[in-house]
């Protein structure tokens, strides 16, 4: 592997890492706050992409602007899902909630097919296939935009979680639901809210996926798996960890693909995942208490 491909791969991986992080953030929050493996996360991302895909031309907005519209929609849907479907089955062992989550993802998947067929789509804009030269190597403009937006998004959530009263309540509920309840925090609605926020963020992630890659009803799973890897790398619920995890995964994939052939690209992520789980069942930067 020549130095050029190496550096190029590394840079590409870094930028992708940002995107990965934002797509995994919602998943990580849900996991961190309520220990719930949010299987439908992939589908929520895809839904975000679909919505932007249809709304953007309809209103003549730039796809990135439509996020402002899509996020509230997903927020609302997410809230309902947690409130009506997941909350009732939580705290009864792992099967009920896990399988409900699975069922939701397959329901979403089939609804996508029914409404929008299985065809693969991409969100195209004037700049979505621009490239620019950074220190002698070509980088996709979109990758750069995605990276910046992701970092902004992560920062925003970080501030929300650490600065606002609600954010603190969410962290409290995550650390010790029982005590939080004694403090007068309605944990169930905090959960619903967390899920809603997670879904809202997916609007950003989904739209970016739609603009950079192509998406179809079936493309939820790979993103879910990426999310899993990132959460385990970055520790659940930790936002800095999520960004780190995303970048590590991005770079590892790029370089791994360059080294062993692109066929092994996804396996590398999964192997890292298993390795980390084996060494440290709660993730690298995660709480050991969990």
């Amino acid at each position: 592997m020549s130095l050029f491909t190496f550096t190029a791969g590394a840079v590409n991986g870094l930028l992708l890492g940002g995107l990965y992080a934002i797509t995994a953030l919602g998943f990580s929050m849900v996991f961190g706050v309520m220990r719930l493996v949010n299987i439908p996360h992939g589908e929520i991302l895809v839904l975000g992409a679909f919505l932007s895909y249809f709304i953007s031309p309809a209103l003549g907005f730039d796809p990135l602007l439509t996020i402002v519209l899509v996020a509230p929609i997903l927020f609302f849907i997410g809230y309902l899902i947690q409130r009506w479907l997941l909350n009732p089955v939580m705290g009864k062992g792992i099967e009920p909630v896990l399988l409900t989550a699975f069922a939701l993802s397959s329901i979403a998947h089939s609804l996508f097919i029914l409404f929008w067929s299985v065809n693969t789509r991409t969100i195209t804009t004037r700049y979505s296939d621009q490239g620019l030269k950074l220190a002698g190597l070509n980088v996709a403009l979109m990758y750069l935009i995605a990276f910046c937006l992701s970092v902004v998004g992560l920062l925003g959530i970080h501030l929300f979680i650490t600065r606002t009263y609600l954010g603190k309540a969410i962290r409290a509920a995550a650390q010790d639901p029982e005590t939080a309840r004694v403090m007068g925090i309605n944990v169930k609605s905090i959960y619903a809210l967390t899920y809603a926020i997670a879904a809202g963020i997916a609007a950003l992630g989904g739209t970016l996926i739609g603009m950079i890659y192509s998406f179809s009803p079936a493309s939820g799973l790979p993103w879910l798996l990426k999310g899993l890897v990132i959460v385990v790398l970055g520790g659940m619920g930790s936002i800095v960890g999520t960004l780190l995890g995303g970048v590590i995964l991005g770079v590892a994939e790029e370089l791994g693909a360059a080294a062993f052939g692109i066929g092994y690209r996804d396996i590398i992520g999964l192997l890292i995942f298993l390795l980390v789980l084996y060494i440290r069942p709660t993730g690298l930067f995660g709480r050991s208490s969990a």
Binding site: T100, A103, I107, S110, D266, L270
Partner: protein, 313 residues
């Protein structure tokens, strides 16, 4: 006739019925029954893990697929008879399960589930890239594998029978007691001297073995396998759905679930998407209202017991 013979005679009657069935029904129904047996074997083998030892594994597809591959390879390149090949498939799956246990048994509850699904996915990707096994093209057998659909019907029926008998037998052995203890209360089981790792490992391997054989036979029946379908996560998920819908931790539950699933799949065969949708909705409802599964719930309600009493009185 004394009461206690009733169930056994009924059972033998059912079996007899199933044995002679092929001579009365047309081939397609035979095919449907074959699928039913396939589902039963898978469901029962998973129930051993999820139902009797609290190992919620989402990686069953890996065992199924590896069994299929091992069978295909041995049958095609070493020219084994497909039955012995399937046995080897089962062993391959069992061996793999032991390897799989090393990283995953350190994990608990949800982490274990995640670990298993990720491993299954990794195996799938590896197979797609592994040229010896034909990479993404998979493996084609000679079409004439020495038996007809009837043959497969009986073989799969035998496996389903085995899979159904296994838990009943195991539960009566030392291992069975250990497993039930673990499922009820792991810490307490350890205090009673149960070696948890060993117990779990053995049941993991047994379950994998059954799933492996099933996969092997199915591969021969398909006479062509191809990684992205044989390792598909759908195998794991629908298996679990069957057990859950039927009733986890019971012997009849998986059978019930498999039958339910087969019927559903047949009725909606032309509308796969709706089938997906409906299964999802049903699963959500069951998880919400009858987490013990339909059969588990029926068993609690008096009506069935009364029905039983009426029938056997």
């Amino acid at each position: 006739m004394p009461k206690r013979w009733m169930p056994y005679s009924l059972l033998t009657f059912c079996l007899a019925g199933l044995v002679i069935l092929p001579y009365f029904i047309e081939t397609y129904t035979l095919f449907v029954f074959y699928t039913l047996f396939l589902y039963i074997s898978l469901a029962q083998s998973w129930n051993l893990l999820g139902g009797y030892s609290g190992l919620i594994s989402l990686g069953h597809a890996a065992f199924f697929g590896l069994g299929a591959y091992a069978t295909a390879l041995t049958a095609k390149y070493l020219g084994f008879h497909f039955l012995s090949a399937a046995l080897i498939g089962g062993m391959a799956a069992a061996i793999f399960s032991v390897a799989m246990a090393i990283p995953t048994f350190r994990l608990h509850g949800i982490y274990f589930a995640i670990g298993t699904i990720v491993i299954a996915e990794a195996v799938r990707l590896w197979m797609i890239n592994w040229d010896v096994a034909g990479g993404p093209l998979g493996i084609h057998f000679p079409a004439d594998c020495g038996t007809s659909l009837k043959g497969f019907y009986y073989v799969m029926m035998a496996i389903a029978g085995l899979a159904t008998a296994l838990p009943t037998v195991i539960l009566k052995t030392k291992l069975g007691f250990g497993l039930r203890a673990i499922r009820d209360n792991e810490a307490s089981a350890e205090n009673m001297g149960v070696n948890i790792f060993r117990a779990k490992l053995s049941v993991f391997a047994i379950s994998a073995f059954v799933a492996g054989i099933t996969g092997g036979i199915h591969a021969v029946k398909m006479s062509t396998i191809e990684p992205s379908s044989i390792f598909e996560a759908t195998w794991s998920l629908s298996t679990i759905n069957m057990v859950i819908i039927g009733g986890i931790g019971t012997i009849s539950g998986p059978i019930f679930g498999a039958a339910f699933f087969t019927c559903l799949a047949e009725l909606l065969a032309d509308y796969y998407t709706y089938q997906l949708l409906l299964t999802g909705i049903i699963l959500v409802l069951i998880m919400r209202f009858v987490p013990t599964g339909i059969w588990g719930w029926l068993r609690k309600t008096r009506s069935v017991k009364r029905l039983g009493r009426v029938l056997f009185a």
